[in-house]
Symmetry: C2
Subunit: 441 residues, 2 copies
């Protein structure tokens, strides 16, 4: 007991050193203009390529450990790095270097009536904490986006990728040694236990924002425990609503695309709703198309009734209430028949995660009402939910997709990793109860 | 004990009903365009004027209670409402009605290369919680700003203003009865005990954002306990740094203005720092001017040494470390001599609250470095810190001054009470691994 307390104290002290070093590095990094930041990113890309063998060797230890513990081949594939994947990671860093620098952008500005020159300027957030699961490429992506936006990165990946993450951070820090960006701008949080994540969540004053990336349980625990401000990302229970006035050909294709083009991602559809006026015509066609794509449908009573007459369609099972809350991330989809557009909106409000919800309709009025009433980060009209993505939106890079309303909503690019600062410049401007007076005049 | 548990349960249930009613009202309010919101605000202004007697009578009960409990006359003056003050409150509501509506503004928009029309549109946050102290006018100001920006307001004022707040909210809700804005868009949180504030802080999912307005201890307790996202406001330990290359005439006037023009507000100066190269010339002049204004200076050793030779200057006492952290809100100011601009920046980083910090200098290079290195919501160059204010910045209204980096930083006007929503419109747009395909083509 006493030993473990001492170990905890040591770990807490070690974390504090790391966080303070990040804070200090952030102070040096923040005022750097674009050129030295881009040079540092290119040095990182070169180092990742040059030390591919070392990275792959570290990754092999993680893969071996995962295999011993009986991890699925799908998960092991997500974890695995080979020379091609390391090259792709390095290329992504180069692409971040090519993006414009958000820092220093004048967001608003004017000369006030009293002559003060007022400017609102983008500045870095400071120290950005990331807690994430899964693929080791996130370690490099997150570090690159943070550096480009002038922030120090404190990274806490999953224990399953510990050797890989350690090697990637070592290579990045070595690369920074020859640049103007301080090495401590990229650091791993010490430890991979629950307590190590908790320390990051409670580091208010040292860490400016925490971005969790992963499943709903990770994100909920961060939101619940963190005193550092959090940007929630990524949980997506996306809906496709097929309106009474939908083009049903288009509706079937959008539904199948939204569900099956990449089922494991947050902007894939997890529920579809169909207006009762077209349910009998739409459902047989949708069930056949979904069945051909290998999808299982979790339907409400009315879906089951209609499905009973479609023997060659998708497998249909009865939906529980939980199905309507579910983010399957698999070839499953919940389905319900609704009596009106407003009922669809109400369903989405009740069960959705406010990520992306789509309507398929030919009616201007219905599209307008759906867009106004659905309170989600993104609303798609006659388009697949899969387009809610920083790359598709033209951001060039994405640190995650925010499903909260404060600070950033939807895909987050580099500007979303910044704050702003007001600067006003006068020539001795004083405020008095009767207006501005200039000193010495 | 059992009785008090039952009372707690009842209070919790009562809070839940109020919060759910706010949520429902927010859903109706959010899609309303400007005209019905402005009509509702004007109805509120009329009602406040028409029922002035009722409001003043309620306020008299608060004032009598405050007097009985020995509250200072200064505090009682902040609490007191008379016909003139009620008229000013009503006029402020009319001014909010005259401001442009932030909701619906297209923040960004483009047609993507694949033809999707992408728009980022301002939308209300939803339900805004306010926890505040002191003056009852905040009850009406906050409600008006929330309504204008399409948000429902859940208000939790101080117990000292309970009768006044209850009357003001009753009058506002009665006025809403004849408008398209639901009455439940303006509600007081039931109760004035600590637990009633705590319930608001824990209402994640029902309340979208919590804005505390008041002293440091209120704001810290909200930040610590809230699971609802918080926007911190208002604590201001503002600095004036007098550079080696300052125009000392201007510096004296800016310092006196920043400290004394209204000492009780968050953008008043609480510390001044002077470069050692000009300390011996500047300090005697500054001390005389501050003394004439009745200011007490809490100086470091070097300030004390120089002050010893200025018998006709301000009262000077030795500063403790706490003085440099203090937000006096009174005719006191901390003071230190620094060896360099960088030492001034380091002092501000260490002790400041990142609200507003000013430099007085004739040097472009020094101004540039100070602006780049000071990480505060606002940086003033050759101007008083008193200009960090929504009114001065031309926002027309202000809900508070954010000292945090996420979502909003500095004075918050109506746009800061909104979030955004992405809307994309296609004609059957599908995402494939080889690019966009249009359904049915």
């Amino acid at each position: 007991m006493a030993d473990s307390v001492r170990a905890d104290d040591r770990a807490a002290e070690e974390f504090l050193q790391v966080a303070k070093a990040a804070r200090k590095a952030a102070t040096v990094l923040a005022p750097l203009p674009r050129a030295p930041k881009d040079a540092a990113l290119r040095a990182i890309a070169d180092a990742l390529l040059g030390r591919t063998e070392e990275i792959v060797a570290a990754n092999e230890k993680d893969v071996a450990r995962a295999r011993e513990s009986g991890t699925s081949e799908a998960m092991i594939d997500r974890l695995r790095l080979d020379a091609g994947r390391v090259a792709a990671i390095a290329e992504a860093v180069r692409q971040v270097a090519d993006l414009p620098d958000p820092v220093g952008e004048v967001v608003r500005g004017s000369t006030l009536p009293n002559g003060l020159e007022l400017r609102q300027i983008r500045v870095p957030l400071g120290v950005v904490g990331m807690i994430y699961e899964g693929r080791p490429n996130v370690t490099v992506d997150a570090a690159a986006l943070c550096l480009k936006s002038g922030n120090a990165a404190l990274l806490r990946g999953s224990s399953s990728a510990y050797e890989s993450n350690t090697a990637l951070v070592r290579v990045m820090r070595d690369a920074l040694a020859g640049t103007e960006v301080p090495q401590d701008a990229v650091q791993l949080v010490p430890g991979t236990d629950r307590e190590s994540a908790r320390r990051l969540m409670r580091a208010r004053g040292l860490v400016d924002v925490l971005i969790p990336r992963g499943g709903a349980s990770l994100i909920n625990s961060v939101v619940e425990e963190s005193t550092v401000p959090v940007i929630e990302t990524g949980v997506g229970n996306c809906h496709v609503y097929v309106d009474a006035e939908a083009d049903l050909d288009i509706a079937v294709e959008i539904l199948v695309n939204a569900k099956t083009q990449r089922p494991s991602v947050c902007n894939a559809a997890e529920t579809f709703l169909v207006h009762e006026a077209v349910a009998e015509e739409f459902l047989p066609r949708a069930l056949r198309a979904l069945g051909a794509a290998g999808v299982t449908v979790h339907g409400d009573k009315r879906v089951l009734e209609i499905a009973a007459g479609v023997p060659d369609g998708a497998k249909v099972v009865e939906a529980t209430e939980d199905d309507f809350y579910a983010e399957y991330l698999s070839l499953d989809i919940a389905a319900a028949v609704v009596g009106s557009l407003d009922e669809a909106v109400e369903h989405i409000r009740t069960y959705g995660s406010a990520h992306t919800d789509a309507i398929v309709t030919r009616s201007m009025a219905n599209a307008r009402r759906f867009v106004a009433m659905v309170d989600s980060a993104a609303v798609a009209v006659n388009a697949s939910t899969r387009f809610t993505d920083g790359g598709e939106f033209g951001f060039g890079a994405e640190i995650g997709i925010s499903t909260q309303k404060l600070h950033a909503r939807g895909p987050m690019g580099l500007p979303e990793l910044t704050s702003t600062k007001w600067v006003y410049t006068g020539e001795g401007h004083l405020r008095t109860s009767s207006g501005t007076v200039i000193a010495g005049r």
